[in-house]
């Protein structure tokens, strides 16, 4: 099985984010990490390769700093990496991102492409589905189980409100992977060492010349959301706060 995993670098979950002066994007000087569902997608690819053999290739579309997530993926066991690198890629919409990936993998015959189900920054939840349309492949979203069958794959899809569904899917296909499908591994020292010698292909914007198109949607402004409620913020020492909370629980809410 030859598997491509699309991963993305996003701001760390607890990083304090600030708006840029124009109010169009965040200030970029924050710590980054791999988008969490993408880490599960990578792990799933590595486990499929361990079961069935083959190759795991990771790809990211992002500024030079995002090479870090490829290095980490190589250290965890991916065989090679492709980096579509340009500062301007931060503002690509989902369609353009999918187009960029499709161009980068032209001529390489993958059996499966995995993405995380959505990213923590834009939260489009679209790139994988769009890539399937560009390639003309079938796809399935929010996958929490993958078994190989004689004719293709048997997939477990998560639906809403605790429901699930099995489905049969031919190859090649695109799957968007839900967090929690597996247990993530850590990179080993040996893995980190080996990663240095693994191929990392760099592609630039010129490689995509004329193939991206323009963004079909525009962020007019980014801002801190307006509050839906008035929140009473409690101040003081931990003991003072604890006393205030107990007073509220007892006298206002009457739950104790």
């Amino acid at each position: 099985m030859k598997i491509l995993v699309c991963i993305k670098q996003v701001p760390q979950k607890d990083a304090p984010l600030k708006l840029n002066e124009a109010g169009t994007w965040i200030r970029e000087d924050v710590p980054y990490e791999v988008n969490e569902p993408d880490a599960y997608a990578l792990e799933e690819a590595l486990q499929q390769k361990e079961k069935h053999g083959g190759e795991v290739v990771v790809i990211t579309v992002g500024p030079p700093r995002s090479q870090q997530v490829l290095r980490e993926a190589l250290a965890k066991g991916a065989d090679r990496a492709i980096h579509l690198a340009d500062d301007s890629f931060v503002t690509l919409d989902a369609v353009s991102t999918a187009r960029a990936i499709a161009v980068a993998i032209e001529g390489q015959s993958f059996d499966m492409i995995f993405t995380g189900l959505q990213s923590d920054d834009y939260g489009f939840a679209q790139t994988g589905v769009l890539l399937a349309e560009l390639l003309g492949w079938p796809h399935a979203t929010i996958i929490i189980g993958i078994e190989k069958t004689e004719s293709g794959l048997r997939l477990k899809r998560e639906l809403e409100a605790g429901q699930y569904q099995w489905m049969d899917m031919p190859l090649p296909c695109v799957l968007t992977i839900q967090s929690g499908i597996n247990k993530l591994r850590y990179a080993t020292l040996m893995g980190i060492k080996q990663a240095r010698n693994k191929p990392l292909q760099q592609l630039t914007r010129t490689h995509l010349e004329g193939k991206l198109g323009t963004n079909l949607q525009t962020i007019e402004r980014l801002y801190v959301p307006t509050k839906q409620k008035t929140t009473e913020m409690l101040q003081g020492s931990p003991t003072e706060i604890a006393k205030k909370l107990v007073d509220i629980l007892r006298n206002e809410l009457r739950v104790i």
């Binding site: 607890d14 920054d121 939260g123 489009f124 679209q126 349309e133 699930y164």
Partner: protein, 331 residues
């Protein structure tokens, strides 16, 4: 003829997904401001009851698109049928609920038409003749007003659960037009099987009056004991955001959010939960929300009634001490 807003209502197993009515309400609200008209379409097989229900809403028309091949949902059939339908009718705007099913086919449908979907909007703005959709970004830390780069038609957007009130959808009498369609052999490449639930949910959190929910801020599995003790003192139950269940620290039936349970207890205490959209849709109906989080910017504070910016491990132990004193009648 005015421009048209087409609502794609969702059904599964011949039952209308109630969130569709929220989308109808959203479309009616936009139509009022823009002077456009609302139409509704629903796909499926054996869906007469759904057509009837939708026809009782205020709309210019209801399209029932029927085929035995639409009995079970597949993205392949939905994209095929809707591409043809939308290309023929060219509505200005297509609105859908942001469900798992819509997420599965809508991006692909839009691209097949050379268009885009603005996903997961929580509202809209109509400013100087320009339609903007407001959506959350960076896990709810920011909101963005997003526009379509082209002039339409076939703008497409999805609305998050509970962004509008379904019971606010205006009633009326809409004519129903039934379209019998066929899906050619070979279009459907996947074979969906029955929808099922895992072994019966052990806990029904929706019956609980007090919930103590933990997120990443709980740090380690062993710290759950503290949250459990707090829940016990309140006579309530422990719950969690998705990452805690993904890590296997609590079973999946304790998960609150879009992929877990939806609850509305009297009291919801969020410990170390940042408040990602997927979690908030599951608990924002709670009567009183108390949030304790060390990050003052955490989106959970947007919807909290009482907020404490602090390390939960500094607050919860003295809180439980005080609660025990009160319970023992010390005051």
């Amino acid at each position: 003829m005015p421009e048209t807003i087409l609502v794609l209502a969702e059904q599964q197993q011949s039952k209308l997904n109630r969130v569709s009515l929220e989308t109808v309400a959203a479309a009616q609200a936009i139509a009022k401001e823009t002077g456009w008209q609302v139409e509704i379409a629903v796909l499926g097989h054996d869906i007469a009851a759904i057509e009837e229900e939708l026809a009782a809403k205020k709309a210019a028309k209801v399209y029932a698109i029927e085929s035995p091949q639409l009995a079970a949902y597949t993205s392949d059939a939905y994209v095929h049928v809707l591409k043809e339908f939308l290309a023929g009718r060219q509505p200005k705007l297509v609105l859908m609920p942001h469900t798992y099913q819509v997420r599965d086919f809508a991006p692909r449908l839009a691209l097949a038409l050379g268009k885009t979907v603005i996903p997961d909007a929580v509202g809209y703005k109509y400013e100087n003749g320009k339609l903007l959709f407001t959506r959350q970004m960076f896990q709810g830390k920011f909101a963005a007003d997003v526009s379509f780069s082209d002039a339409g038609p076939l703008w497409m957007a999805t609305f998050q659960n509970a962004a509008f009130r379904g019971d606010a959808a205006e009633v009326g009498t809409a004519p129903v037009e039934t379209l019998q369609v066929t899906v050619p052999d070979g279009v459907i490449r996947v074979q969906p099987h029955e929808i099922f639930r895992e072994a019966r949910q052990a806990v029904d959190l929706s019956q609980s009056e007090a919930i103590v929910a933990v997120g990443r801020g709980i740090k380690e599995q062993k710290n759950l004991a503290m949250a459990e003790e707090l829940a016990k003192l309140l006579g309530g139950d422990i719950a969690a955001s998705r990452p805690i269940c993904d890590a296997g620290w609590l079973p999946l039936d304790r998960q609150v959010g879009s992929s877990g349970q939806t609850i509305a207890p009297k009291l919801y205490i969020a410990l170390g939960i940042s408040g990602a959209i997927q979690h908030i849709v599951g608990m924002k109906g709670s009567r009183t929300i108390i949030a304790i989080n060390k990050d003052a910017e955490a989106p959970i504070f947007e919807i909290a009634d009482i907020g404490v910016v602090a390390n939960l491990f500094d607050i919860v132990p003295p809180l439980m001490e005080e609660m025990k004193k009160v319970k023992a009648g010390a005051y």
